[in-house]
Amino acid sequence: MSALAALIRRDIRIALRVGGGALIGVLFFLTVTVLMPFAVGPDLALLSRLGPAILWLGALLASLLTLDRLFTADHEDGSLDLIVMSRTPLELACAAKALAHWLAAGLPLIVATPVLGLLLNLDGTATLAVALTLLAGTPALTFTGMIGAALAVTLHRGGLLLAVLVLPLSIPVLIFGVAASQAAISGPMSFGTPFSILCALSLFSLVIGPFAAAASLRHGLD
């Protein structure tokens, strides 16, 4: 247990210090959100209608961007081999790494959401709904993305291949995240139905992700 806590603490510390790049995700999130009004035009009514979708897309891309380094950095300095060889089950170690990544890179995105909501002319309920759905949904993005990150590190390929592999898996999360936000803003569906499916997706990926990532690390590293 203490090994896992140490792993989480180490990963968060590395992510927050110079060269870690956890906060670059937030900067990217901000940039994508600012780009959108230039693309669709500065029509405030339209922006508030598209707002939840824009925020979800930005968060999805930002978390994908930072996931690329989840295992690669550890692979480069050799600590990944130590993690694989250590007595802690690799599945738990993967889960701990993903949790640390979510705390360092996922939570700041959710904290930034109210500010970005202002830029997109979202009112209080809408901002709250988007932040809540992101809170429930971004763990699913991190834990499914981790599978792609593990595949990428075993193949020594990252970037576009990771995106091509992970993005189809994240479509259900996107669908239900945006559906829940829209339901909270305009109805007619109740907020609870898509939101509980979103939570279910997160819990499901919490189980599947570490096992698949550990399997691909175990079979792929030599």
């Binding site: 599978i147 075993t154 193949l155 399997a215 079979h219």
Partner: protein, 264 residues
């Protein structure tokens, strides 16, 4: 003849050489019968002649899911049983599955235009099949991104098993989300709701398409085995020409080369 006997690629090649002509012949005959029955089937009272698109669309859609199932079993074969031909089976099935999925999407949208009034609708079944298509393409990209086949095989196997979650979602999407696509009408509790005049051609076409898949898959596996043999022969040749001057290293290189042929 068990699965372990087929672990020997030479034996597998000999077997496929013997049965492939028969399989191809049976496929051609059944496809001819199925197509004839489909053309001769009566028009639907509501859909008119467009109902005949179903005879192509439904087998393609079934196979798009069936091929992923085959690939999942092959993925288990790669990761768990380490069957030497499992990754060959998985790799050669992916493009065929992608083709079936693409045909299912195209025929579905051609049918949807006169019936639903639109080529594409973001309905649960359509969306999940589109995701399946994207995953087939991603898997093919993965196979192409890595030169070493055994390394690519293990990564692809993990991704295939993760992607298998999508298959039950596709199957039950029409029941869970009550959107545009109609629910199952053949394999359902309480028997098929389809009229016999449509059911028989559909079943013949389904069997014909399954045979088509088996034929194409075995042929593709043959090609893949031969391709790997060519690759290891080329590598042997390259290493022997390189070690011509330094003969000390040639023995170990040849040892490696013959091991690769054994694997291939």
């Amino acid at each position: 003849m068990t699965l372990t006997d087929l672990a020997n690629p030479t034996r597998f090649l000999a077997l496929t050489t013997r049965i492939l002509p028969w399989l191809a012949g049976a496929t051609a005959i059944l496809l001819a019968i199925g197509l004839y029955q489909s053309v001769m089937a009566p028009d639907d009272y509501q859909q008119g002649a467009t109902v005949k698109i179903m005879f192509i669309h439904v087998p393609n859609a079934w196979l798009s899911m069936f091929v992923w199932g085959v690939m999942s079993i092959a993925a288990l074969g790669t990761l768990v049983w380490r069957h030497p031909l499992a990754d060959v089976a998985a790799k050669s099935a992916a493009p065929i599955g992608a083709a079936f999925t693409f045909l299912a999407l195209v025929t579905g949208s051609l049918w949807g235009r006169p019936m639903w009034g639109t080529y594409w609708e973001w309905d649960a079944r359509l969306t999940s099949v589109l995701i399946l298509f994207l995953m087939y393409l991603g898997l093919m990209a993965l196979w192409r991104a890595v030169e070493d086949p055994s390394r690519a095989a293990r990564a692809a196997a993990v991704l295939t098993l993760v992607g298998a979650i999508n298959i039950p979602i596709i199957k039950f999407s029409v029941d869970w989300w009550n959107t545009l696509h109609q629910p199952a009408s053949v394999f359902r509790a309480g028997g098929p709701t389809l009229d016999k005049a449509f059911l028989w051609p559909l079943l013949v076409m389904a069997i014909a398409f399954s045979l088509l898949f088996i034929t194409l898959h075995l042929a593709a596996m043959r090609n893949e085995i031969l391709r790997r043999r060519v690759r290891s022969l080329q590598m042997m040749q390259a290493s022997s020409s390189r070690t011509f001057s330094a003969e000390a290293g040639s023995a170990s290189c040849e040892g490696n080369g013959s091991k690769e042929i054994g694997i291939a």
